[in-house]
Symmetry: C2
Subunit: 197 residues, 2 copies
């Protein structure tokens, strides 16, 4: 059992609750520095769990209609709170995504949303392209992986360069907004119509 | 062979070409009234053929975004000519369709666009509903057919009542526009996003 004085010291240094401090010291065998590490790890886990558990039931739908009336897009961007969904910066962000979709024609939100069979087929194509090259197998695998990443950067919204600031990806932009707004944001779905396609 | 005087009379009465009048009189055995019927039928066939052959490669995409940003729709409406696509009445029509889609939530453009297996499944459900009724088989079939039509009127855009003038269907509205504009018009595809659905 942890010494009550040590528990109070850990509590003062970390701000964690008495029970958490006591458990951390027990786990660390009474070592203060180790106990701090234990608390940090548990804290990070808790935060990740919280993010994963957070539900994005609010949000907005944004549309973009090109001036020639021959190209349009629609996107659903989810937030946790109605308060964020009504914020002008959030609306502007959703409008930027709709414009990005119209301009850059992505097929999927992210690599995770590409069906496994589509991915496997594309990998086979890239493998066939490298088949004639006189290179070791592990190098070929790396080339294929590079081609896959390049392909994701073309067809996945999240991996595309943002058309307004091409030094960042849409994923970078999304993470910026999440950090600034302090809420989980999810790009749930999109659609794009273009005349003659 | 048709008499030249009869050919000229038929031509005067119908405005059809000399060769068409000659052929019609030959087919009608020289009977003027029958020849007029022949010309009418051929004319109708030609018009239907022309409509079927007409390609709608032009048109517009219209979007609708509800003021609460939680509901949006997008529709592609095709015309034959770019001239019609740029006409304000055509644009207004496309905007009305987008609003109809947002408001009335259709699933398909027309009964023809419902997959056969979806139709068959729905017919089975309606058949099961009538199974317990003590009625002759042909009456049951008519009840099922009535239920199918009612179902189409709910889920097919073309069979829905137009939300602005509920005494006409969207199909009526489309046919009005085709008659007025004088071009084939096709509702090619639509999409509808609603938050939480």
């Amino acid at each position: 059992m942890a010494d009550a004085k040590l528990v109070m010291e850990l509590r003062n240094r970390t701000g964690a609750g008495v029970v958490d401090c006591k458990n951390a010291l027990d786990e660390a065998g009474g070592d203060m520095e180790k106990a701090i590490e234990v608390l940090k790890k548990k804290g990070a886990l808790k935060a990740a769990k919280k993010t994963a558990e957070r539900t994005t039931s609010q949000g907005v739908i944004a549309t973009y209609l090109h001036h020639n009336h021959r190209l349009a897009s629609m996107v659903e961007v989810q937030s946790e709170s109605d308060f964020v969904a009504r914020n002008q910066e959030f609306l502007d962000f959703a409008n930027d995504i709709a414009m990005q979709i119209a301009a850059m024609n992505p097929e999927y939100v992210s690599p995770e949303s590409i069906p496994e069979d589509v991915k496997a087929k594309q990998r086979e194509i890239f493998l066939a392209e490298t088949a004639t090259e006189n290179k070791p197998e592990d190098i070929k695998q790396k080339i294929v992986e590079g081609k896959m990443q390049k392909w994701y950067a073309e067809i996945c919204l999240m991996k595309q360069s943002f058309f307004k600031e091409d030094d960042k990806t849409m994923e970078d932009l999304l993470n910026e907004k999440i950090a600034k707004i302090g809420e989980k944001i999810v790009i749930a779905r999109f659609a794009r119509f273009e005349m003659g396609s």
